[in-house]
Symmetry: C2
Subunit: 202 residues, 2 copies
């Protein structure tokens, strides 16, 4: 390994370490809770290093939002999409979200939901990024449900947009319920999601 | 009017004026965006006056949260509850929420929803108050649906908790959609709520 590669590897490790602390802070205190000073203290690195690795605060916030999404994708989305049957993918995508939130992997609940609220009145790159993540979640559900219809696993007359909307709605309610410690509503949301999919079975 | 009454009236007017500015700030920037200095500047009163009227920051935040709820109650809940038929009350409570949010009366969307996120990881009096407001919304729906069943307007076999959960879920999704400018999803949530109630008609 030459010197440049070694430097790059060290940089990537440092970046990953900083982002782990940054996502933990942002999960409970929001992306606005991220300051270069606080992240530096928590991650045990110098403020100058954070600036070298991430530039300004907004770049750090965007990288943290993306890191949260990447973590969720690795734990839930990628294993789900590796399944052969579109219906199995749909079940894994929906149930996996409940398992992920319940596991406390993200103590502040769904990162994209929280950021939607946090940036509700602050147009700019972070709000745009949040909107992009929301749209890709929705597109993934649409594709999976459409594929399950094409495979004859879901009925041909299932209204794709309505089913996506209902899955999203139950998730949205479940997330707030989780944050408020209302696990009965959280589990009702999980059951209701499964019931909606069951009702759409071919 | 004696001197004490005059002072009390002036105090109440000043309080109302401050709370109007405080709810406007909190609607978009959250209850944590409220500082005594900022509210004083926006309301055009001295910081000392705010402290006399509200005490500390947390008391101001609690009063602001309550003022948002009181405004919504006056505009939506009270007119709805004045209707004679429980079904008409249910329709006014559900549709009224969509009208209220769409009107921009609260530019940051549902106040209680936003505060649920903001205080997700901060136990204390504000989180407790948020939980209390959420519980009273739910209790109101339960009572109204139960009354509509008793009046023979909704079917006797309607699952009250499930219907309340679905109304809440669509509202939760609609609120984020509104914040993200996604009015197609917002209107789908309104139609879906009406459809759920229609499906429960006796």
């Amino acid at each position: 390994m030459n010197e440049t590669d070694g430097r790059r590897q060290r940089g990537e490790r440092a970046r990953a370490q900083v982002l782990e602390h940054a996502t933990a802070i942002a999960s409970t205190d929001g992306l606005e809770g991220l300051t270069i000073g606080r992240v530096a203290t928590d991650a045990g690195v110098g403020k100058g290093n954070i600036q070298v690795l991430f530039g300004d605060k907004e770049t750090l916030q965007l990288a943290t939002l993306d890191a949260g999404v990447v973590h969720y994708r690795a734990k839930v989305v990628e294993p789900a999409l590796a399944l052969e049957s579109p219906l199995a993918r749909l079940r894994a995508l929906t149930d996996g979200w409940f398992d992920y939130v319940a596991s406390g992997a993200s103590p502040g609940g769904c990162f994209v939901c929280a950021a939607s609220y946090e940036y509700r009145a602050r147009p700019g790159p972070i709000q745009d990024r949040v909107r992009g993540h929301r749209e890709s979640v929705r597109a993934r559900f649409r594709e999976t449900i459409t594929a399950a219809k094409a495979a004859g696993e879901l009925r041909a007359d299932v209204d794709v947009d309505q089913l996506v909307f209902e899955i999203e709605s139950f998730r949205s309610n479940a997330n707030v319920a989780f944050l408020m410690g209302d696990m009965a509503v959280f589990e009702r949301a999980r059951r209701s999601t499964q019931a909606r999919i069951d009702a759409a079975l071919a």
